[in-house]
């Protein structure tokens, strides 16, 4: 393996390591061009657009996977590849996260094929998805606060437009507005935080920040800056304290976009948070008063508890999923909260990454199922889901898989990833984090099983008929379900890769 990897490193120029991002960006541009070539709008085939964007994402997925297997940017082949004056770095972690973004983008593209049938503007939709995915990929590669911010905005701006994409739907507009306002606020907070960090350290490169935090005179400024950075990340990952946009945005947005945001975008937020905090503010070199681990511990516990309790009180399935996605952000935060000097940090971080990977499948699938239900025109509350299984058993099996997997029940991928997460937290000595997580998981079973109960056990309403069986949505949902299932037996490579690449950060 290492031989071919070495060959790869020597035959391709260094910048080729960013190929996944380049492919996604090119796909977006190509989509715009395709959209431009056709004058008459009917000429733009929805299938072509969806196909191109899915193919582009899958190609990026394949390339990222190939790089990951070949060891690009990993210690075995000479370590991380840093480009453009260290502003971008391609290493195992960025490639791992790229896999999540691209596979989610592919599923969302395929699913959108049906969702967009009634829309007149499609080209921009797909290309915005691609651009957002590009931004996320760059987020995972960002090695300087400048690239962090730019890529974060590159991921956010298309998302704003996508959330508000249904121009005549009041819910979508409202969601877009709220998402945008909170997003703009948090990006302002974030960039102010960056400016404070720059003020204290004189650099935006993560490595240089790390080397100069020891002797900065402005600990207070730096501390406030770091706190503001946390704020920015918490927005992107939909965790406390910038979480409150999530229910609105997810509920109002087109459901495939909710899927995209709650899985890929969240993962991207974590990718960038992991790198920024571990590289720029390494544990053990922090001056007193800069203990961000403590902040994340509080945030993790509050986030998972709040998300779960709020989810338990919802009547609207999409909203319930939105809150549960906040809860899952809390679990993933354990990856940052259970770190300690000399602890099994790579295990913790890797487990969190693996959880995000599994989450990418199960959560995307769940939201896409909701997209399908919206397309059926059934309604959004738990009652509206009554008896769906009598009409669409396969889709409901898939949804059941997602729900139980999200709850962390064993026969699905979510169980193993949660187990790995909590186990590594205990291993690191933070048993109370794991305990909070476990209690919350148990609680979550309550509201997840409500969906299952409604679909399977409750009697269908009079005259419940599902007129269509959307091909794209079905494909994507089944794909996600198979992925969620397969991640149980195939969890080994995921967690091992995750922990290996995580180890490179310490």
């Amino acid at each position: 393996m290492s031989a071919s990897a070495l060959a790869l490193q020597s035959t391709l120029p260094n910048w080729a390591a960013t190929a996944p991002a380049l492919i996604l960006a090119l796909t977006g541009l190509v989509l715009l061009l395709i959209d431009s070539i056709h004058t008459a709008r009917e000429g733009v085939s929805n299938a072509v657009l969806a196909g191109v964007s899915a193919a582009g994402s899958l190609l990026a997925f394949a390339v990222a996977g190939w790089f990951l297997v070949a060891g690009t940017g990993q210690p075995a082949t000479g370590g991380a590849i840093s480009l453009y004056g260290d502003a971008i770095v391609v290493d195992g972690m960025s490639l791992f996260f790229t896999l999540i973004f691209t596979v989610v983008a592919a599923m969302v593209s395929v699913a959108s094929y049906d969702y967009l049938e009634a829309q007149t503007t499609r080209g921009e939709y797909y290309s915005l998805v691609m651009f957002a995915a590009t931004g996320m990929t760059l987020m995972s590669m960002a090695n300087s606060l400048a690239t962090v911010f730019v890529s974060l905005e590159l991921a956010s701006l298309p998302s704003f437009a996508l959330v508000a994409f249904l121009k005549t739907d009041r819910g979508s507009i409202e969601a877009g507005l709220k998402y945008f306002l909170i997003g703009a606020l948090s990006s302002a907070v974030f960039v102010f935080g960056i400016s404070l960090v720059y003020a204290a350290t004189g650099s935006l490169l993560l490595a240089e920040i790390a080397s100069s935090i020891g002797d900065t005179q402005m600990i207070g400024v730096l501390g406030i800056g770091v706190l503001m950075l946390v704020g920015g990340f918490s927005y992107k990952t939909a965790s406390v304290p910038f979480h409150f946009w999530a229910p609105e945005a997810y509920e109002g947005a087109p459901a495939p976009i909710s899927a995209f945001l709650s899985s890929a975008s969240k993962a991207a937020g974590f990718a960038v948070a992991f790198r920024v905090f571990l590289v720029a503010f390494p544990l053990g070199q922090l001056p007193a008063g800069l203990d961000w681990v403590l902040v994340f511990q509080i945030l993790a516990v509050v986030t998972m508890t709040l998300g779960n309790f709020a989810a338990a009180t919802q009547e609207n399935v999409k909203r319930m999923l939105a809150y549960s996605s906040i809860g899952h952000a809390g679990y993933a935060l354990i990856g940052l909260a259970a770190l300690s000097v000399g602890g099994p940090n790579a295990d913790v971080l890797g487990a969190s990454m693996a959880h995000l990977m599994v989450y990418g499948f199960m959560n995307t699938g769940a939201f896409l199922f909701i997209a399908m239900v919206e397309r059926w025109g059934v309604g959004r509350t738990f009652e509206d889901y009554n008896g769906l299984a009598t009409r669409a058993p396969m889709a409901c099996v898939a949804m059941t898989v997602f729900m139980f997997s999200l709850a962390g029940l064993p026969p699905f991928g979510g169980f193993l990833s949660k187990y790995a997460l909590f186990y590594s937290a205990i291993e690191a000595g933070f048993w109370w984090l794991a305990a909070f997580g476990a209690i919350n998981s148990t609680l979550s079973l309550f509201y997840y099983s409500r969906v299952v109960k409604a679909m399977w056990i409750e009697d269908p309403k009079e005259g419940l008929e599902l007129d269509t069986s959307p091909v794209g949505l079905y494909t994507a949902v089944i794909f996600a379900a198979v992925g969620t299932l397969l991640l149980l037996p195939a969890f080994a490579p995921v967690i091992e890769t995750a922990q290996t690449v995580a180890a490179a950060l310490f």
Binding site: D347, P411, Y419, A420, Y423, S424, K453, I457, E496
Partner: protein, 509 residues
């Protein structure tokens, strides 16, 4: 690889049935479910293990390969059978087939989903009884709950939603408690184990390699873990006072599901108790012998008394299951060859007999649409074959000689009388034997009122003999019950071989 093949075939069958047209799903499922039956019988014929799978000795059909490594612990795909698990595997496959056949009449909607779930559950049950790695085991263990939840919730009686949720919540919380207990043990063992393989862990535990973890010292940790796991399994068994989900689940579940629930799912609890608590930590078990024995005896007596007070035939059988499971606990805690072996034997025997009883009740219910004792009498006039088998099954339940129940209870009582783990064991045994009297009482009472006497039926349904495919499973089960009663050595020999290592190193007898 035969175990993998068995499980895989069952999974695939489940999928096939799930997408099959519903008119033919039942027949298809029955035919497909014969494959695992054949497989398990083949395994039985080729069975050559002599030891206990957890404590060394040869393990039959063992396969193991690495799945993944987490925090220095290997999680392996590790399966194999020994004398304890093989009878349960056979029981599972046979009972599933019979339950599927018995479902042809009562299940009239969404058949393909029903049979698909039944087969899915069977696959997971096979996994539970064959897994030798904790993780694999736990995944199968939890996976059983999912189909059961649906089976009760979708096809159950009027209060099915309540029953399904109650079942699901009870057993899931129990699993969590148990899981935490076990993981605490693993953390206590620290570096002395390198995988979650059950043999490795049990041997390390029995070798006293448990260390403390956090604020807990080794002894406390062990005690806490034992109690946590005992509670977790006890819900599944169930023992009083953790049994309250069982009557609801049984009453609401359709007959074939009740068969599986009583016949196999309850055995998961006792099987896990035997494997985990009593094999891994015999010292704690023996230290706690009094409370455990008390729980066992209370289960026996309390279950029996509750059964006495019921009007619903199904409830009667359900409570009597609680009672029967009490015997199993008593046998386990006795720590003698006959005690533990008898308990294991009782698992199989009770699986068959309770399956038979539920099916018989179900057949009657299919015809009469009521299960209330007071609603009918003299059924034997109109349904002679069914009634006959019902009576025979009840005798098996009561422990009539030459029936499996007799052999099992005899072994258990013999074992617990011999037991030296505590001076009071004979006393407990005597108290438990009192339960037999009550069982005989309530079964005879119920039969007398429903089956015999002048025919009377308050419902509007035509009461006739049941169809052949309804009665056939009953007959097969009866044959099996009698066969085990006449020749318990079919299983008991291999059970004993597997049980003895537990006692040797544990220092019971």
């Amino acid at each position: 690889m035969i175990i993998e093949a068995l499980i895989a075939v069952t999974f695939v069958s489940a999928l096939v049935v799930f997408v099959a047209p519903r008119q033919h799903a039942g027949e298809l499922a029955a035919v497909l479910s014969l494959l695992p039956v054949v497989g398990s019988l083949y395994m039985w014929s080729q069975f050559d293990a002599t030891g206990n799978a957890l404590l060394g000795g040869s393990i039959a059909f063992e396969t193991q390969f690495t799945w993944l490594t987490l925090g220095g612990l290997d999680l392996n795909w590790y399966v194999g059978v020994d004398g304890i698990s093989l009878p349960l595997v056979v029981l599972t496959t046979i009972l599933t087939t019979l339950a599927i056949v018995s479902a042809w009449t009562p299940i009239t909607s969404r058949q393909s989903q029903f049979y698909g779930l039944m087969l899915f559950m069977e696959a997971n049950l096979l996994g539970v009884f064959t897994a030798l790695d904790f993780f694999v085991w736990f995944i199968f263990w939890e996976a059983v709950l999912v189909p059961m939840y649906f089976l009760i919730g979708v096809w159950g009686g009027p209060r099915r939603k309540y029953a399904a949720i109650k079942f699901f919540v009870y057993t899931n919380i129990a699993s969590l408690v148990m899981f935490i207990g076990f993981i605490a043990l693993v953390f206590g063992l620290g570096d002395s184990v390198s995988s979650l393989g059950l043999p490795e862990i049990s041997q390390a535990l029995r070798a006293g390699e448990l260390g403390g973890y956090g604020a807990l010292d080794a002894a406390t940790l062990k005690l806490v873990a034992f109690v946590a796991m005992f509670l977790g399994f006890a819900v599944k068994v169930p023992v009083a006072p953790l049994h309250t989900w069982l009557p609801d689940a049984h009453v609401e579940a359709p007959t074939p599901v009740s068969v599986m629930l009583a016949g196999v799912l309850l055995k998961m609890g006792t099987y896990a108790l035997l494997r985990f608590n009593f094999t891994m930590m015999p010292d704690v078990a023996q230290a706690l012998v009094v409370p455990i024995a008390v729980i066992a005896v209370v289960s026996v007596i309390y279950g029996a008394i509750l059964a006495l007070a019921q009007q619903d035939l199904k409830r009667i059988v359900a409570y009597s299951s609680v009672s029967s499971m009490g015997y199993v606990i008593l046998g386990l805690v006795a720590y003698t060859t006959y005690g533990v072996g008898g308990a294991t034997f009782q698992m199989v025997a009770h699986g068959l007999i309770s399956g038979l009883m539920f099916m018989a009740v179900g057949v009657i219910y299919n015809t009469t649409h009521t299960r209330m004792v007071g609603d009918m009498s003299g059924m034997a006039d109109r349904m002679p074959v069914t009634s006959g088998i019902f009576v025979a099954g009840a005798f098996g339940y009561m422990g009539l000689p030459l029936m499996a129940g007799f052999a099992a209870e005899f072994f258990i009582f013999q074992g617990s009388f011999q037991s030296t783990v505590h001076d009071a064991m004979p006393l407990f045994t005597a108290a438990a034997m009192f339960g037999i009297v009550i069982v005989a009482g309530y079964l005879l009472f119920a039969m007398q009122r429903t089956l015999f006497g002048p025919f009377r039926f308050d419902g509007d349904y035509e009461v006739t003999e049941a169809a052949f495919h309804d009665v056939a499973p009953l007959a097969v089960l009866l044959v099996l019950v009698i066969a085990l009663g006449v020749a318990p050595d079919i299983f008991f020999e291999m059970i004993q071989q597997a049980v003895n290592p537990i006692l040797e190193t544990g220092g019971g007898v």
